[in-house]
Amino acid sequence: MDPVTRIQGVALPLNRADVDTDQIIPAKYLKLVERTGFGRFLFDSWRKDESFVLNDPRYAGAQVLISGPNFGCGSSREHAPWALQDYGFRAVIAPSFADIFRNNCAKIGLLLVPLPQDEVDILLKRAEANPNTQVIVDLESQSVSVAGESWSLNFDVDPFVKHCLLNGLDDISLTLQHEADISAFEAQRPDFLPRTKVTA
């Protein structure tokens, strides 16, 4: 995973609540066995509507997505964050995020920025009024601002997620540092627990 530090770019306003992962990427595109190439299917159904904001050329190259509460709800498909990232998004700002989606994003370095609804509304209005608005998300200082302006908004991030994102850490390697703990745990597991293989 590449480190995530500071993101600056056009912000795409998607003012909808409960955006589910079936909308982010429909199931028919989950058949690919690679991690890349999903960006072209991002919001596939909604994009068929010409007035959908993703089709607005003024937001071309957007790196920040601003949306409503419970973003990423529904299916656990990691293809949803893959599609957002492959399309070019590096951060999503919303009042709240679904749990599995949040974990998936942390694993791939897509930064989630939770802000209260009224602060999200301010950013949504700015992005809707002026598509050239450059939004800056700074992970180190946990702040969101608009380029050229002096105010900023602070957001919460899990300290461990922050540490991993800033340093681009692979958490399987981190876990394997606890190999001795895992083996010790395994040694004391009761043998009535189920096994999927019948051993002789």
Partner: protein, 470 residues
């Protein structure tokens, strides 16, 4: 004496491999369920890193999302589906995993086969790259849905770093009316807490109504925990749980059974334990439910009407309500029983177990499917199918004009040949009524198996409470 704990806290604490301030707990995983859609990239990453599957003996795989439910012996229509299942076949071979492949009678929806095989047991931590993993919580397991990177992590380490969730009690007490079933209970719960009410929480379903549900009914309730935003959902194990498990292929036997029982009986929430949040419902207030919109919280009683979004106080809900009605092509104040249907789907990890099929068949017996409706029944596993056929349920459905299919996820999610065409309206026993979930432009109404069966016969929704069984 240790602090009083809830069921989920007991399971959590018994599985912490490593804990450190400022970090998520590292949890041991007792059982990892794998299917074709969310595993290919995880196996590929293992190969690239030169890693093995740490515990093939705690891992089991099946193919369910892509598989056709008819004409399986003929060439599958979609080469990408063939490829995805072929990749799983190759991965289970290379990594030496137990596999219920397409031609195995035990193949089926991953959340149906775990309990059916007796692999799902009280007190276990279970993960699967699928959001409906909470289904296994019905047996008192802590079962969490994960993404592909997490699947890779579990394959490599048999552990998962997870932030400790909050606890939420959903209490349902009282007696359900005839015709009101587990699906109506969970739809009512989601209507009450909202689609994000459970974020960050594990829900324990409690109360005498929940206790009175069969194991299959508890699975239906736990299955849709994610639709309320919850990390997981579970029910304390009891004698009903133990009776369900005893004698199943992977359940403990002999001395092990006795030792397991001792452990399982220690699991229920201590009397003095506290939940972070509690929600209560009365069974008498629950009626047969039908979703009218595009989120699972947008449901009403079958005797009710499509709501007028302008009556919603919250501006966000108002906007979402109108968008949902436009998508669903419904007008405010339309009686639910006046909504006509094109398709009926009985199946999915929510409602495809033997009890679901029995209850649907009891409605269908002696009736014919409306000529306007195309209806199908898709058993959750090959073994459910065989059981249903042994009981003659297939004949009841076939004689009424239903299609009788092979096991799989089928029309729950539009990843296999079973999907809605644009504009088609479906009564479905599945779990999600999101836009396009059952196929682009398709319109989904979530209901119980009995309600779906009655709707198939009438061509529109009817109140199952007045149904005359033949």
């Amino acid at each position: 004496m240790s602090d009083p704990k809830t069921l989920s806290e007991k399971i959590w604490d018994a599985h912490v491999v490593h804990s450190e301030a400022g970090q998520p707990d590292l949890l041991y995983v007792d059982l990892h369920l794998v299917h074709e859609v969310t595993s290919a990239q995880a196996f590929e990453a293992l190969r690239m890193a030169g890693r093995k599957v740490r515990r093939p003996d705690l891992t089991i795989a099946t193919a369910d999302h892509n598989v056709p439910t008819a004409d399986r012996d003929k060439p599958w229509p979609d080469p990408l589906s063939i490829q995805q299942v072929d990749v799983l076949d190759a991965n289970v071979g290379q990594f030496d995993l137990t596999y219920f492949g397409v031609n195995d009678v035990r193949q089926g929806i991953v959340h149906v086969i775990g309990p059916e095989q007796g692999l799902t047991q009280p007190g276990l931590t279970i993960v699967c790259g699928d959001s409906h993993t909470a289904t296994h919580g019905a047996l008192g397991a802590l079962a969490i849905g994960i993404g592909t990177s997490e699947v890779e992590h579990v394959l490599a380490t048999q552990t998962l770093p997870q932030a400790r969730p909050k606890t939420m009690a959903v209490e349902v007490n009282g007696e359900l009316a005839q015709g009101v079933v587990a699906k109506d209970v969970i739809l009512s719960i989601i209507r009450t807490i909202g689609v994000s009410g459970g974020i960050g929480h594990v829900i324990e379903y409690r109360g005498d109504t929940i206790r009175s549900l069969s194991m299959e009914g508890r699975m239906t309730v736990c299955n849709m925990s994610i639709e309320g935003g919850a990390r997981a959902g579970l029910v304390a194990p009891d004698d009903k749980t133990f009776a369900y498990l005893e004698g199943r292929p992977f359940a403990p036997k002999g001395q092990d059974w006795e030792r397991a029982l001792d452990y399982w009986r220690s699991l229920p929430t201590d009397d003095a334990a506290k939940f972070d949040k509690t929600v209560s419902l009365r069974a008498e207030d629950i009626e047969p439910s039908v979703t009218w919109g595009t989120t699972p919280a947008q449901s009403v009683n079958v005797t009710g009407h499509v709501p007028d979004p302008d009556s919603f106080a919250d501006p966000g809900a108002r906007e979402l309500g109108w968008r949902s009605l436009r998508y669903m092509d419904l007008q405010p104040n339309t009686a639910i029983e006046d909504i006509s249907l094109d398709r009926v789907f009985i199946g999915s990890c929510t409602n495809s177990r033997i009890e679901d099929l029995r209850s649907a068949a009891s409605v269908v017996r002696g009736y014919k499917v409306s000529p306007k409706v195309s209806a199908m029944v898709v058993p959750g596993s090959g073994l459910v199918k065989a059981q249903a056929e042994a009981e003659g349920l297939d004949q009841i459905f076939l004689e009424a004009g239903f299609e009788w299919r092979d096991a799989g996820c089928s029309m729950c999610l539009g990843m296999n040949p079973d999907f809605l065409l644009a504009g088609e309206r479906c009564a479905s026993t599945s779990n999600r009524n999101f836009e396009g979930r059952q196929g682009p432009g398709g319109r989904t109404h979530l209901v119980s198996p009995q309600m779906a069966a009655a709707a198939a016969i009438n061509g529109h929704f009817v109140d199952i409470r007045g149904w005359r069984r033949n």
